[in-house]
C-alpha cells in the first residue's frame, strides 16, 4: 500500500500550518537559505547535481546539470525564471505549492537564484491562476517587508529581487523559450534552439527556467543531510519525492507526494482508492495529456522517469489520468487533440496543420463517418507531427494519437463497423 512521503507537503499536510512568512519561519523556513548564503554558488550547484534531482516540469532534465550550463563571465546579468505556467492537462501540483505553501517555493527560488548568480528572478504564473498569483504577490511583499528580498537578505549582501509575472493564458507559454518571449512582452512562441536559454535566454542573457516543484525541492536538498535523504527516496537516476496529480475515475483523486519507487498499481488502487463504482480499469494517461496512453495490462510498473520510458511512455509532469471501462476512448482522444489544436502556436507547419486536421478526422468518427482508411490516415497524420516540429508540442499532440490508435483500435471501429 502506497503512502505519502512528506517532504514538499510536510507543511501542507499539517492542518495547523499557517502559510504566512511567520508561519513558514516557525516551521523552520528560510534556515536553508541562510546556510546557502554561506556557501559558494558552485558548491550549491554541486550539491544539487549530487542529489540527482531531475526537472519536474515534464522533460526530466537534471537540474544541477542545467545550472552548470549557465554561461559565465558574459558581462550580462544571469536570470532564473520559475515556470509556474502549469497548464499540461491533468497537472495541478504547482498550484498546490503556490497556494498552500508559497514560501517553500520562494525559498527554493531564492536558493536557485543564488546558485546561478541571478539577482532578479521572475516567476511566470499561468494567467488563470488568480488566487495563486495573489498569494505569491502577498508572499513576495512579506519578504520585502522583512528584508529577505532587497539589497541585503539575511546580511548576505546578495541583492535579490523577485517579480511575479502573470501570463495571458496560453499553454505554449509553458514551453521555456516561448515563456521567455512572453516575459519579454512578445508573442509567446518557441524559439529555435540552440542557442539554449542557458546561453541566450531572457533578453538574450543566460537564463535558467525551472519548474515550481523543482525549485520547491531545494530547501530540502540543501538542508543538512538533504542530499542523501533525497537520494534515498527512489532508485538511481529517479531520486526524490514527487508530486503526483491523480485524476480521473479513481475514488480518491488528488495531489499526492510519493517516492519514485512506488508501483502505479498501488497508486491507483491504494492511495487512489481504486476505480469508481467498482468498475474495471481501462487505461491510464501516465504523465499529462502529452504522454502515450497505457492499457490496464501495463500498469504494473514503477512510477518514475526510467521505468515509464522503458515501456515507451513517459512520466512527464506526473499527472496520472485514470479511466474506466465505460470510457469512450475516441471522445477522450478528441478532447485531447482539440486541446492541442487550440494551443498550437501555429508557427511550424506540421503542428499548425496536423493538430487541426487530426482533430477533424477524430470528429468524423464521432459523427459516424469513420472508416479503416481514416483510422490509417489519423495514424499517419499523427506520425507526421512526431519529431518534425520546432518544439515538443508537436510530439505532445502526436503521441496520444498514435498510442490511442495502436492500443484501442476496436474503440474506433465500434464507431463505424456495425
Amino acid at each position: 500500500m502506497a503512502e505519502e512521503t512528506l517532504v514538499l507537503f510536510k507543511n501542507i499536510r499539517n492542518p495547523k500550518y499557517n502559510k504566512s512568512l511567520a508561519g513558514y519561519k516557525k516551521a523552520g523556513g528560510y534556515k536553508t537559505l541562510n546556510k546557502v548564503f554561506g556557501m559558494k554558488p558552485d558548491e550549491v550547484v554541486q550539491e544539487v547535481k549530487e542529489s540527482g534531482i531531475r526537472g519536474r516540469g515534464g522533460a526530466g532534465f537534471p537540474t544541477g546539470l542545467k545550472w552548470s550550463f549557465m554561461a559565465k563571465e558574459t558581462g550580462k546579468p544571469s536570470y532564473l525564471v520559475a515556470n509556474a505556467d502549469e497548464s499540461e492537462p491533468g497537472t495541478c501540483k504547482d498550484r498546490e505549492l503556490m497556494l498552500k505553501d508559497p514560501h517553500l517555493f520562494l525559498e527554493g527560488m531564492m536558493i536557485g537564484c543564488y546558485a546561478v548568480g541571478c539577482h532578479h528572478g521572475y516567476i511566470y504564473v499561468r494567467g488563470e491562476f488568480f488566487p495563486a498569483i495573489k498569494t505569491l504577490i502577498d508572499a513576495v511583499d512579506e519578504l520585502y517587508a522583512d528584508g529577505l528580498l532587497g539589497p541585503d537578505p539575511m546580511g548576505s549582501g546578495y541583492q535579490l529581487d523577485l517579480t511575479v509575472h502573470s501570463g495571458a493564458g496560453a499553454y505554449i507559454c509553458g514551453e521555456e523559450s516561448a515563456l521567455l518571449d512572453s516575459l519579454e512582452g512578445k508573442r509567446g512562441q518557441p524559439r529555435v534552439k540552440p542557442p539554449f536559454p542557458a546561453v541566450s535566454g531572457f533578453n538574450g542573457c543566460p537564463t535558467s527556467v525551472n519548474n515550481v516543484e523543482t525549485l520547491a525541492c531545494m530547501p530540502y536538498i540543501l538542508s543538512d543531510g538533504g542530499v542523501d535523504a533525497f537520494k534515498s527516496f527512489g532508485p538511481q537516476n529517479n531520486t526524490g519525492t514527487h508530486l503526483v496529480s491523480l485524476s480521473g475515475h479513481v475514488n480518491n483523486p488528488g495531489v499526492y507526494e510519493l517516492r519514485m519507487d512506488v508501483n502505479m498499481k498501488d497508486i491507483i488502487y491504494g492511495i487512489g482508492g481504486g476505480i469508481r463504482n467498482g468498475k474495471k480499469l481501462k487505461g491510464v494517461i501516465p504523465g499529462g495529456s502529452s504522454s502515450s496512453v497505457m492499457t490496464a495490462d501495463e500498469v504494473d510498473v514503477l512510477y518514475n522517469f526510467d521505468e515509464l520510458a522503458k515501456i515507451n511512455t513517459m512520466l512527464g509532469s506526473a499527472a496520472m489520468m485514470v479511466f474506466d471501462e465505460d470510457t469512450d476512448v475516441v471522445q477522450l482522444l478528441h478532447r485531447i487533440t482539440r486541446f492541442y489544436a487550440h494551443e498550437s502556436c501555429g508557427q511550424c507547419t506540421p503542428c499548425r496543420e496536423g493538430t487541426h486536421w487530426s482533430r477533424n478526422i477524430i470528429r468524423d468518427f464521432l459523427n459516424g463517418n469513420g472508416s479503416d482508411e481514416k483510422l490509417k490516415r489519423l495514424d499517419r497524420v499523427g506520425g507526421n507531427m512526431l519529431g518534425t516540429t520546432l518544439c515538443a508540442l508537436g510530439d505532445a499532440a502526436a503521441l496520444p494519437i498514435q498510442s490511442f490508435v495502436k492500443k484501442f483500435p476496436e474503440d474506433f471501429r465500434k464507431y463505424y463497423a456495425n
Binding site: 505554449i172 529555435v192 501555429g346 507547419t349 496536423g354 486536421w357 518534425t388
Partner: protein
C-alpha cells in the same frame, strides 16, 4: 576554411554558418520557405529538412534536421536527397497544401511560386484532405501591396520584414494554431516605403504588388539586369518586360548597394518606361514657329552649317545637362565642347541633398537626390552649384550655341528665356519638355531601359544598365548622337559602341582611369578617385 560534405561533395563554410546558407552559396538546392538570408532564422516551415548522416563525430543525427538552423561542422556529412528526406519534405508539403486554395490560374505568383515549384517537385500530387478549407477575405493592407491570406503559408517572412528590416512593426502574426494568420493591426494600412519587398520575399501569392495585379503571367516576363535610376543610390534591379512593355522592376541582390531590397518609388519608375505620349520620336527642326520632322542627316547638317556660319565660337558656346545623363554622355558632351570649341562651359544642376542615417539599413536607400549620376558629374568636374550661380554668370554673356542634354534647370524660367535668344539651341533627350519647345533642333534620345549606360552612384560605384526593351525606331542612344554630332562638326571620334566610349573616358579622364567596362557589368566598380560632394547632408532617421 573548414569543409563539410553535402551529398558527397565537399563544401566550404564559414565558422558558424548554417548548412542551408553554405549550400545555397554553393548553388546547391535545398527547398525552403521561411529562411531568408537577410532576416532572423525561425526554422518553422520545416521544408529544409536534411539527413545529417554524420554530425562530424561519426554519429548520425537522431532525426531529420532543419538545414536553415543547424550549424555546419567540420567533417559533417549531409544527405539532401535520400528517401528519408524526400518523405520529410513530402509531409511538409502535404500539410501546406491542405488549406491552400491552389488558385494558381488566377494567382499572380504562379510561375515564380516556391510552393508551386516544390509541390511539383517534391509533393505527392494527391490530397487526402476532405474538409472545407480555411477561408479569409481579401485585405487591403497597404499602398503598394495587397494580401490574400488564403494563400499564406505562415512563413513569417513578412512579419520579420517589418520588425527587422524596416523597424516599422506595422505587420504581424495574429491568432494561433491553424488560425494563425498575418495582417496589419486593426483597420490600419501600411505606410512604409518598402512594401514591394514584402511581395518579393513572400514565397507564395499571399502578398502581391498592386501595380502588377493581373497584368502578366510571370513566366512570360523577360528579365534584364539593370539599375534603378530613381535616385542616387542606384539599387540593382531586373527590368521585367514582355512584348516591349515593362511590367515591373524587381530588386537584384547586391550586398554593396541595396542588399535584397529597393523602395516602392523606385519600382514605380517602370511606368515612365512605357510612356509614349511625351516621347520625342524623331529628329525635329524648327521651321518658323513650328518644329517639323527631319532626318538625322538633315539635323546634323543643319547644326554643322549654323555653327560654321557663326565661327569662330568659344565662350559663347555652352552645354547644359542634367545628372540623369550617364557617365559616357557627360564625358562625350564635355569632350565635344573641348575639342570642338575649346570650351569647358558645361553646367549641371547640383542641388543640396540629404542622406538618411539609420539603424535600419533599408532607410538609407532612399536619398533626396532623385537623379542617378550626380557623383559622375562631380567626378568629371561638370560645373554646377546648389544655386545655379555659375550658370547664371555664364549666361550673362552673349550666347550663340547652346546644347541641352535631357531636362536640366527646368524650373529656371528666366534662364530659359535668356537662352531662347541664342542663335542655335540643340536639345538632345528622350522626352519633350520646355527645352524641346524652344530648341532649333531636337534629337531623340533614349530612356535608360533602352540602352547600355553607366552611372556613378552616391557611393562612387560605377554601375551599368542593359538594353531591356527596344527603343523607338528613330531614336538613338545619346552617346551615339553626341559622337555623330561631333563628327558632323569635324571631329574624328568614330565610336561604334559604348565600350569604346567608356575606354576613351577611362583613358582621358582621371576619375575613370583604369576602369574596364566589362568588369562593371556584374556588381559595379568603385571610382579610384572620388570627388568631394559639398551638397550632401547627413540626417538622422526619424525615430
Amino acid at each position: 576554411m573548414p569543409v563539410f560534405h553535402i551529398d558527397g561533395e565537399p563544401v566550404e563554410f564559414e565558422p558558424g554558418e548554417k548548412i542551408l546558407s553554405a549550400a545555397l552559396r554553393r548553388g546547391k538546392i535545398i527547398p525552403h520557405y521561411c529562411y531568408h538570408p537577410g532576416m532572423s532564422i525561425v526554422a518553422t516551415c520545416r521544408m529544409c529538412v536534411v539527413d545529417v548522416i554524420d554530425l562530424g563525430n561519426g554519429r548520425p543525427a537522431p532525426k531529420l534536421q532543419t538545414a536553415c538552423s543547424v550549424d555546419a561542422a567540420e567533417g559533417m556529412k549531409v544527405d539532401t536527397m535520400n528517401q528519408k528526406v524526400e518523405e520529410g519534405r513530402k509531409l511538409v508539403n502535404e500539410f501546406l497544401l491542405i488549406n491552400h486554395p491552389l488558385d494558381c490560374p488566377i494567382c499572380d505568383q504562379s510561375g515564380e511560386c516556391t510552393l508551386q515549384d516544390y509541390s511539383f517537385e517534391y509533393g505527392s500530387g494527391k490530397s487526402e484532405m476532405d474538409y472545407s478549407k480555411r477561408v479569409y477575405g481579401w485585405r487591403d493592407i497597404g499602398t503598394f501591396v495587397s494580401l490574400e491570406r488564403n494563400r499564406c503559408i505562415q512563413c513569417s517572412r513578412c512579419d520579420r520584414f517589418t520588425r527587422e528590416i524596416t523597424g516599422t512593426n506595422e505587420f504581424g502574426m495574429f491568432n494561433r494554431g491553424h488560425e494563425l494568420t498575418v495582417d496589419t493591426f486593426t483597420d490600419r494600412t501600411m505606410t512604409n516605403k518598402f512594401q514591394g519587398n514584402m511581395a518579393d520575399i513572400c514565397p507564395v501569392g499571399a502578398i502581391t504588388e498592386k501595380e502588377f495585379r493581373f497584368k502578366r503571367r510571370a513566366w512570360k516576363l523577360k528579365k534584364n539586369r539593370s539599375i534603378c535610376t530613381g535616385c542616387s543610390t542606384g539599387c540593382n534591379v531586373t527590368i521585367e518586360h514582355d512584348r516591349n512593355e515593362v511590367f515591373r522592376l524587381k530588386p537584384h541582390e547586391n550586398q554593396n548597394v541595396n542588399k535584397w531590397w529597393m523602395c516602392d518609388e523606385g519600382r514605380l519608375t517602370y511606368r515612365i518606361m512605357n510612356e509614349r505620349k511625351s516621347r520625342i520620336n524623331r529628329p525635329l527642326g524648327r521651321v518658323g514657329e513650328n518644329l517639323e520632322g527631319i532626318s538625322w542627316e538633315e539635323a546634323y547638317g543643319a547644326i554643322a552649317e549654323r555653327v560654321r556660319e557663326m565661327a569662330p565660337l568659344a565662350q559663347n558656346v555652352i552645354a547644359l545637362t542634367d545628372t540623369h545623363a550617364s557617365n559616357e554622355e557627360l564625358f562625350l558632351i564635355q569632350k565635344l565642347l573641348k575639342d570642338g570649341f575649346s570650351s569647358d562651359n558645361i553646367f549641371c544642376p547640383l542641388p543640396n541633398w540629404e542622406q538618411i542615417e539609420s539603424d535600419f539599413f533599408i532607410n538609407t536607400l532612399i536619398t533626396t537626390d532623385k537623379t542617378p549620376n550626380r557623383a559622375g558629374a562631380l567626378a568629371l568636374k561638370i560645373k554646377g552649384d546648389a544655386k545655379n550661380a555659375k550658370l547664371k554668370e555664364a549666361v550673362k554673356s552673349d550666347l550663340k550655341v547652346v546644347f541641352v542634354l535631357g531636362n536640366p534647370f527646368e524650373t529656371e524660367h528666366d534662364l530659359q528665356q535668356k537662352i531662347k535668344t541664342a542663335q542655335l539651341v540643340v536639345h538632345i533627350g528622350a522626352y519633350h519638355n520646355s527645352w524641346s519647345e524652344i530648341a532649333d533642333v531636337v534629337l531623340p534620345g533614349q530612356h535608360y531601359s533602352e540602352k547600355i549606360a553607366t552611372y556613378t552612384n552616391k557611393q562612387h560605384l560605377v554601375q551599368a544598365t542593359d538594353i531591356a526593351v527596344k527603343a523607338l525606331r528613330r531614336s538613338r542612344p545619346e552617346w551615339q548622337i553626341l559622337s555623330e554630332l561631333a563628327e558632323a562638326l569635324g571631329q574624328n571620334y568614330d565610336f561604334t559602341n559604348i565600350n569604346q566610349v567608356f575606354d576613351s573616358m577611362s583613358r582621358e579622364t582621371k576619375a575613370f582611369s583604369g576602369l574596364n567596362f566589362d568588369q562593371i557589368q556584374s556588381n559595379g566598380i568603385e571610382l579610384a578617385q572620388t570627388a568631394k560632394d559639398s551638397g550632401k547632408k547627413l540626417i538622422k532617421a526619424a525615430a
